[in-house]
Symmetry: C2
Subunit: 223 residues, 2 copies
DNA sequence: GATTGACCAATAGTGGTCATTCGGTCAACA
DNA sequence: TGTTGACCGAATGACCACTATTGGTCAATC
């Protein structure tokens, strides 16, 4: 029964993601989600108190999966624990995840309203200030730069290129991956210290980040 | 008479910019522009063949002014000719120009439709491939990187933070200027060669860029 | 007890009307 | 001759009545 219910829960989350990717949060109706998951509409409300809670859970799950996949990439790469490695793997995983991309890229107009919806579903910061302080202590990022500014910069360097993509799109423009590759070089040259420390601490720091993630949404009461 | 006409032309362009900034291209009517410039509607068509041509001219003028102001900043700064200086001054001037910002930032939704309009009015590339080749020849940017990729990267590093701004906006987020400052450091460390060349060539290269700029708009026939 | 789907009030969309406003012209005017 | 503003057809969008769909509930059913 617990397994049964868990399955249904997961199925509903899968269906939610599928419908959202197909037509955005607005157009993903509870009935449609239920149909996609092959359960009744009422069953949705046995698992989740509201549509909002359902979508929240889908985003939460995606974020968690994203971070753990990224953590695995990082751990598998001997140099992965450096800031540049973390940046590189975060981007690679992000680009590989359509739902994650949609959450970030969406500014309300992709495919004429795909994911058109409240800003609620858009994580503000991934690599937080605390994470960067840990990295600095481990000698994996320059200690002379403000962690808060650096945290924000890394967000900008992740989201910025995605948002700029449709604006700068041009036949002569290089692929998104090439731009990110060059950006990773800039991160190495500009944000990592000259003397090379052991990247292991970075792996652990990101692992901790991935384990501890819980999204807090804009509205306090999920309702 | 020529001076008279020139004045009227300029007045009309001023009025166009003012109205566009107030309510977007769509809502800036020819009659409103004429009223703002204190001339009759018919007079507009004595100066410009169409509204499109009028707006095109306003954008063209703004771009030209922007580039020449930037060139002046660069020339006034002893280190201005380096890539980082050019980047820094371009950004500073961009941030100081509301119309320029609107053209770039706008993705159709600022102030619910400010500048909502065709992509036509959005320059794709500022520091082109050729410019970067010249800079490389002068030893002012790394010669081992592809000019096209670098050109695109610099565009991303200019537009990206602007577009990411509303997405990442947060009480804890640092000011836009701080982010750009740090980015300029990254440009120094990552894109400039280790040995320092004479920045004078960079000043000249940008000057040439500013002089030679002519916008080509998306639609071929201005009509 | 777990699950369903008919049902509800509220909201979002649909098609159609029509006054307004638009870009652009040009006869009349200064 | 240079300038104007009344005027044009086309396009827009505010408004309406109406319909379909929505998130959510709960008596009936399995």
């Amino acid at each position: 029964m617990t397994a049964q219910n868990s399955d249904r829960r997961e199925d509903l989350l899968d269906a939610t993601v599928a419908l959202i990717l197909r037509g955005g949060v607005r157009r993903a109706s509870v009935e449609g989600i239920a149909r996609e998951a092959r359960v009744s509409k009422g069953a949705v409300y046995l698992e989740f108190p509201s549509k909002t809670a359902l979508v929240d859970a889908a985003v939460q799950r995606e974020l968690s999966r994203y971070l753990h996949s990224t953590a695995a990439r990082i751990a598998a790469d001997p140099e992965g624990g450096r800031l540049s490695g973390i940046y590189r793997h975060s981007i690679a995983e992000l680009l590989a995840r359509p739902f994650m991309r949609a959450i970030y890229e969406d500014d309300g107009r992709i495919l004429d309203g795909l994911i058109r919806g409240p800003v609620r579903y858009r994580p503000r910061v991934l690599l937080g200030e605390e994470f960067l302080r840990t990295m600095a202590d481990a000698g994996l990022v320059r200690a002379d730069l403000d962690p808060a500014t650096m945290s924000h910069l890394l967000s900008v360097l992740s989201v910025g290129p995605l948002l700029a993509e449709p604006v700068l799109r041009d036949q002569s423009a290089p692929a998104l991956e090439a731009t990110f590759e060059l950006l990773a070089d800039l991160v190495v040259a500009g944000l990592e210290p000259t003397l090379r420390a052991d990247p292991e601490a970075g792996v652990r720091a990101f692992q901790k980040l991935a384990d501890g993630v819980t999204l807090t949404f804009d509205g306090e009461r999920p309702r």
